[in-house]
């Protein structure tokens, strides 16, 4: 199940990183690294191999959607699965993220089942 995956969690709230990390761990996914904002995340993305980004929208020091734009414009990262997990559930935010290339969109609050439903759509070969 998601063997050898490295997931990058980006959220300025340590609470949400901890909640998502727990959800991932409960499904056997242990290889998770964290960043507090887009800038930190961008450095990690350039330093090591990441298989999936789970990213908040509203953060100081580079918003999630700006990080998404950087990722999509980078020759080697442009196809990287990138899921927005955010409290912004308004239509224009969702449309904007998808237009910028988000692979999935999860609105806070969310259950583990909702998160893994989105991840299952991105990685259909993996166990839900």
């Amino acid at each position: 199940m998601y063997d050898d995956f490295c997931i990058l969690l980006v959220d300025d709230f340590s609470t949400m990183r901890r909640v998502i990390r727990r959800m991932l761990r409960d499904r056997g996914i242990e290889n998770v690294i964290e960043a507090e904002n887009g800038k930190q995340a961008w450095k990690l993305l350039n330093d090591r191999k990441i298989d999936l980004v789970i990213c908040d929208w509203n953060m100081p020091n580079m918003k999630g959607v700006d990080l998404l734009e950087l990722v999509r414009s980078h020759s080697q990262l442009s196809a990287l699965p990138f899921v927005m997990v955010t409290a912004e559930g308004k239509k224009d935010f969702i449309e904007h993220a998808l237009q910028k290339g988000a692979t999935g969109y999860v609105t806070k609050p969310f259950s583990s089942e909702e998160l893994f439903s989105v991840l299952g759509n991105i990685f259909p070969g993996e166990a839900k």
């Binding site: 709230f13 609470t15 239509k91 609105t107």
Partner: protein, 168 residues
């Protein structure tokens, strides 16, 4: 400035719904709301509060205040670990809970034709801390009890949200 006399009660319901949804989804607990009342003083009904401003079609603010005992139960449920004191992790959680209630409520308000945005919440803590909603409109408060096997509904156990939205 004189206080305006009314605020549309229909605008409150999305915040109540959002609070119930956030607690049920993220903390696996049922909350029960009491009828809204007008709040006329700044002292928070709790030991730690998250406050977030609202802008857009209208302006206003939302605050969420928790007594220590109640927020420790909520965050323990969220983390699956027992939390024993109001520390930076608890304050961070209060900020994120406030953020999620705001986002969920704004999503429902959008369906009612009102578009609001909000920024990053701030968190205040301490006994008898105050919350200042910058408004001339009334502040509506709603208290909630938690069903944790036994109800957390006594003095120092209920938590409160305060909402103020200025009408156009």
């Amino acid at each position: 400035m004189a206080k305006k006399e009314k605020m549309d009660f229909n605008l409150i319901q999305p915040f109540i719904n959002a609070t119930l949804t956030v607690l049920k989804t993220m903390a696996f607990t049922e909350a029960h709301s009491k009828p809204p009342y007008l709040k006329d003083q700044n002292t928070a009904n709790g030991d730690v509060s998250g406050v977030i401003g609202l802008t857009g079609d209208s302006s206003g603010s939302l605050s969420v205040s928790f007594p220590e005992k109640t927020i420790l139960v909520i965050v323990s449920n969220m983390f699956g670990e027992r939390m024993s004191q109001v520390d930076d992790e608890i304050k961070d959680a209060v900020g994120e809970i406030t953020n999620m209630i705001s986002g969920q409520a704004r999503q429902e308000l959008e369906g009612m034709g009102m578009s609001l945005e909000s920024a990053i919440p701030t968190v205040i803590s301490g006994k008898d801390h105050t919350i200042k909603h910058i408004t001339t409109y009334p502040i509506l408060a709603i208290t909630f009890s938690l069903d944790e096997g036994e109800f957390l509904s006594g003095q120092g156990e209920e938590f409160t949200i305060e909402v103020c939205i200025e009408e156009e």
